[in-house]
């Protein structure tokens, strides 16, 4: 696919945000906050960094993306639709009976979804498996995983962290969408995982710390991450939950609650 420029990626991010608002609004359910925080990462990956082919979703040499924080599915679906995997007009079927756009990603139902997620903590392990398959098959693809700060509470995250470093798994580039909130409250108040960067370093991951809404920083970090040998990479991306919609930013009420029709209109106006 043609690689978009930084300016084009910014415009695409706005478009993806509009889809997120419309999809969750139409479904009257879903998780807008964590979808909006992950938007630039997904846009940078699908429209610049990843080698993939919407006409051949099973192309064996493709780069892979696992949305470990499966509740951010609206952002993933919007990126897939805008990439050409399916018609963006169907995005508002999100969460409706019979639609492939399930509440959480289902690899059996939607081409382009690499892993079924929705039970937190599983994505890194699956990514390690894909990266090990690459090594066995002597291929060159990259496996990207988008994880959440809440997921760091899960024990499996740290099983995966230890194992990937021990087995020197490279071509595995993970993002931590560090929006500082989980369902019940701030990460600080529920189960504070700080010092986060030090933890990943201590687990022998190659780490980067960036502004997760700055497309240039994302591109720059991934370009460096692709050159890392014998180490898995964790890009700690500081983000804002609900980013792009003034009344959702940093407002955890929109973790798992959709905007009302009036709020949808207000949000779309802000995203023009």
């Amino acid at each position: 696919m043609e690689k978009l420029s930084v300016e084009q990626l910014k415009a695409k991010s706005k478009l993806v945000r509009r889809h997120i608002v419309e999809m969750t609004g139409a479904a009257a359910s879903g998780h807008p906050g964590g979808s909006l925080s992950a938007t630039e990462m997904l846009v940078a990956l699908y429209f610049n960094l990843m080698d993939h082919n919407p006409q051949d979703p099973q192309w064996p040499d493709r780069d892979r993306l696992i949305l470990s924080k499966g509740h951010a599915s609206p952002a993933l679906y919007a990126a897939l639709a805008e990439s050409g995997y399916f018609d963006p007009k169907t995005l508002t079927d999100f969460r409706k009976l019979g639609s492939p756009l399930q509440g959480h990603p289902d690899r059996r139902k939607l081409p382009g979804v690499e892993a079924s997620t929705g039970s937190l903590g599983q994505g890194l392990s699956i990514g390690i498996g894909m990266a090990l398959a690459r090594r066995l098959d002597k291929k060159n693809y990259y496996t990207y995983v988008i994880t959440s700060d809440g997921e760091m509470n899960e024990g499996q995250t740290w099983e995966a962290a230890a194992m990937a470093a021990h087995h020197k798994v490279d071509h595995l580039i993970a993002f931590l969408d560090y929006n500082k909130y989980q369902l019940d409250d701030s990460t600080k108040n529920i189960c504070d995982m700080e010092p986060v960067v030090d933890k990943w370093k201590a687990f022998r991951w190659h780490t980067f710390e960036i502004d997760g809404h700055d497309v240039k920083e994302i591109l720059h970090a991934v370009e460096k991450a692709q050159k890392v040998k014998d180490e898995p990479v964790m890009i700690i991306a500081h983000t804002i939950k609900g980013k792009g919609v003034s009344f959702m930013e940093g407002n955890n009420a929109f973790h798992g609650v959709a905007p009302t029709p009036e709020q949808v209109q207000k949000a779309l106006k802000e995203l023009e």
Partner: protein
């Protein structure tokens, strides 16, 4: 009946992996630091580049297998059934069953015949858990011949499979080279009064019981129901119609095992008198395998008693 001990089913599994390695280049074997006990070490020594030891972490073990399977590999993953099934269950549910991926799961040290290591190491609930996952094939082989054949079948089959293997040497029931099909039970003995359906070590106990029952004029069929899911319902129905009395024997908790599966089917299709030889809603303890099987009601005298009870004798 003469009891000739063969290999443990876990040994037969490990040895069969060497055959599978040659037929299926896409097979990758994984373990969670128990390869010397599960016997995946046999493969690891010969094919180190296709073996992954993740350390003591079952959830990640399953997750990594999911990633490998989604790239076309066929992971055979093993650990003790007690740890693998319970600690990897969410990953089996989401990553393997729900995702419909070709992952083969081998839980060793099934049942209470683990012996001296005690209850924490004994899986008595694995069959209930794994049969509850949509699409999973669940197999409990009885001896080394059966284990080898069904492990080879498992490699050919596309989809999730769980195989339970055992720690102790298992009595030999079959001639080398006997064919087995996933989902097709084996009638080892044909009778007219009663059908005993068993799997794992209980198949030998059932045959022993049938022989002694015959001396008392009771004629019993014995079925090796090595596949719990999909269940060989044709064979069960044929037997239930002929004998009218069905006894199920398994080295598993009475809730949710082979007995429950057979009873659910027969309740719909052909209600008849039934009995259940299984672990009676309790954990076991340390001891020798034979002592434990006797204490927890799984040896042939218990099968004979249960048979007579449902026959009203």
């Amino acid at each position: 009946m003469e009891k000739k001990l063969g290999k443990a089913t876990r040994d037969a599994y490990g040895e069969t992996l060497l055959e599978i390695a040659k037929i299926h280049p896409e097979v990758v074997v994984m373990d969670a630091d128990l390869s010397k006990a599960t016997k995946s070490v046999i493969f690891a020594e010969k094919f180190p580049e296709r073996f992954i030891n993740v350390g003591i972490q079952e959830a990640n073990l399953v997750g990594v297998a999911v990633g490998l399977a989604s790239c076309g590999k066929i992971p055979f993953i093993s650990s003790f059934a007690s740890f693998l099934v319970s600690k990897g269950f969410d990953q089996f549910r989401m990553g393997v069953a729900f995702s419909e991926l070709n992952v083969k799961v081998i839980g060793s040290h099934g049942g209470i015949s683990v012996g001296e290591d005690g209850a924490s190491q004994m899986s008595i609930e694995d069959i209930a858990l794994m049969t509850s996952l949509p699409g999973f094939v669940v197999i409990v082989p009885s001896d080394e011949v059966c284990t080898r054949a069904l492990t080879l079948e498992t490699a050919k089959y596309v989809g999730p499979v769980y195989i339970r293997t055992g720690r102790p040497k298992a009595p030999i029931l079959y001639k080398a080279g006997t064919d087995f099909k996933i989902g097709k039970g084996v009638r080892l003995r044909e009778g007219k009064d009663l059908t005993i359906i068993a799997n794992g070590l209980e198949v030998f106990e059932a045959l022993e019981a049938a022989e002694q029952l015959a001396e008392e004029g009771i004629s019993a069929s014995v079925i090796d129901m090595h596949t719990v899911k999909p269940l060989d319902t044709d064979l069960i129905l044929e037997e239930a119609r002929r004998t009218g009395h069905v006894l199920v024997a398994e080295e598993h908790q009475i809730w949710g095992g082979l007995g429950s599966a057979v009873a659910t089917f027969l309740a719909k299709k052909h209600p008849c008198k039934m009995g259940f030889v299984a672990i009676q809603d309790t954990f076991a303890e340390s001891g020798q395998a034979e002592e434990l099987l006797e204490k927890y009601g799984l040896t042939h005298p218990h099968i004979i008693k249960a048979a007579k009870k449902i026959l009203g004798r």
